[in-house]
């Protein structure tokens, strides 16, 4: 029996993948997967999509308990780690019940939490966030109540728009409040933003871009109001804020690891102490072949990819080759799929016909395809992702 013990803190998408990949890469010691949430690790994407519509409150779990057991992965669910001490041989972590867990190898996969609205009145019980199952249950229960007719969504990002579409499917009248001039402003080409806006308006959503929420007003017996910078108000029985996520770095910071704002990791997913690995939404990656600007990518694919690399690093094996980052979102009946990262100087051309509801924006750097952003266009997505992967092999002597 090996005397090694890996502790993975955070049992979400990245944590589970890291634990499994440790095994796949031949790590022989014990593997502890500690998660603050109760129950088996589950998928977050459905939470803003069909989960809200269904009466069922069962999450989509990845793996059964028997499977984890069969791989020798010990899930400590409901164990929030509150402090970690490092020493030459590894260290020791303490959970919220005061129990300690010694380890030789440490991985941080603590994810992110919803950014909280920094507005007067934002602590109103009418204001919801959506990051985990507990949030989704609370939001789903509130939204299914017939007393809730009007919903205000603050934030026109992916989660906000997915939620807005789901709320209209529940028969709610929905207003979306977005500070920027367009929805999905930083994430997609503006032609896609415009297409999505048109589709949301057709769905009956009251879409307001370029507005600044300044306060949430709650008075007893009356609907909640969101006060905007121009002095007007939007009445709602329920307010959901989807205004981004903040990486969870308390433990990393207590260990003195560099954070900016995510845990800074290198190409092997090593943190600044050169021995702790970190993966997923809690990280700040370095610039790399397929992520030339070193952007924080909060996605399933990023969590899975980084977790595999981090596991290889801890297990002492060669990491898997780099792969094209990709992302998907389902906003009502709009299926968005994106692969690669548009570089600042890239050209962006339309393929297909936006009027037909199925088109893509393709990004080229010189002659090389670097990214595709596809609207209801899975064939171009599939072909594009493959082509980006093929075209971007690192040639000898070439710096990514």
């Amino acid at each position: 029996m090996s005397s090694q013990r890996a502790l993975v803190i955070g049992a979400g998408q990245a944590g589970l993948q890291l634990a499994e990949s440790l095994r796949a890469f031949g790590f022989e010691g014990s593997v502890l997967l500690a998660g603050a949430e109760k129950g088996l690790p589950y998928q977050r994407p459905p939470l803003s999509k069909e989960f809200l519509l269904a009466e069922s409150v069962a999450p989509t779990v990845f793996r059964s308990g028997e499977f984890l057991e069969s791989r020798g992965i010990t899930l400590l669910d409901g164990h929030r780690i509150v402090s970690v001490r490092r020493d030459a041989g590894g260290g020791e972590a303490r959970d919220s019940t005061g129990r300690t867990w010694a380890f030789t190898h440490l991985a941080l996969t603590t994810g992110a939490c919803s950014r909280v609205l920094d507005l007067p009145g934002a602590d109103s019980p009418a204001v919801h966030y959506l990051r985990d199952l507990a949030h989704a249950r609370r939001l789903g229960n509130a939204a299914r109540s017939p007393r809730v007719r009007r919903v205000a969504v603050i934030g026109g990002g992916f989660i906000g728009l997915e939620l807005a579409a789901a709320m209209t499917a529940l028969g709610k009248s929905v207003t979306v409040l977005e500070v920027a001039k367009t929805v999905l402003a930083r994430a997609v080409d503006q032609r896609i933003s415009r297409y999505v806006e048109g589709a949301l308006l057709n769905r009956g959503i009251d879409l307001r871009c370029g507005v600044q929420p300044v306060a949430v007003l709650d008075s007893p017996g009356r609907a909640t109001e969101v006060l905007l910078g121009d002095g007007t108000t939007v009445s709602a029985d329920l307010v959901v804020a989807g205004v981004g996520a903040t990486p969870r770095t308390e433990i990393a910071e207590s260990l003195g690891l560099a954070c900016a704002p995510g845990i800074v990791v290198d190409g092997r997913n090593l943190a600044s102490d050169n021995r702790t690995v970190a993966a997923g939404d809690c990280t700040q990656p370095e610039r790399s072949l397929f992520n030339p600007l070193g952007l924080r990518l909060e996605s399933v694919n990023n969590a899975v990819t980084q977790a595999r690399v981090g596991a290889a690093t801890l297990a002492g094996v060669e990491p898997p080759p780099p792969s094209v980052p990709w992302f998907w979102s389902v906003i009502g009946d709009i299926r968005l799929q994106m692969a690669g990262m548009p570089s600042p100087g890239a050209t962006a051309d339309v393929q297909g016909d936006p009027l037909s509801g199925s088109f893509s924006i393709v990004f080229h750097q010189g002659a090389t395809l670097v990214a595709v952003q596809c609207v209801n266009d899975p064939a171009r997505f599939a072909a594009g992702r493959k082509a980006i992967q093929r075209g971007s092999v690192i040639r000898p002597g070439q710096k990514p």
Binding site: P45, F62, F67, R71, V300, V304, W326, W328, R335, A382
Partner: protein, 102 residues
């Protein structure tokens, strides 16, 4: 269900009505079936080859057909996406070949 790996390794599982091949494979830890997008028809990492006839299986959808053009392993006539394959009796003993890459 019977899953066969490229090296000939076979695993047998039970599948419930309403459970997709992708979910079944993930729950039972079948190597080589990934299902990154959780069945949202967005990743094609649940690609499988059906062994034998395709009769009695759900028909190939347009989205599935398009996504199958982007699989990591070559597409064959027997290619399907596991997340779209809901197996009902009498096909519940169907044999699935796991592709060499996803």
């Amino acid at each position: 269900m019977i899953y066969v790996q490229a090296n000939g390794h076979r695993q047998v599982t039970d599948i419930q009505p309403g459970e997709s091949v992708m979910s079944n494979a993930i729950a039972h830890g079948i190597e080589g079936i990934v299902g990154e997008c959780g069945g949202f028809l967005s990743c094609a990492s649940c690609h499988v080859y059906v062994v034998g006839t395709l009769d009695g299986l759900p028909p190939l959808g347009d989205l599935e057909d398009a996504m199958l053009e982007g699989t990591a392993a070559p597409r064959r006539d027997s290619s399907r996406l596991g997340c779209q394959l809901f197996i009902e009796p009498p096909r519940d003993g169907v044999e699935i070949e796991v592709p060499p890459a996803q």
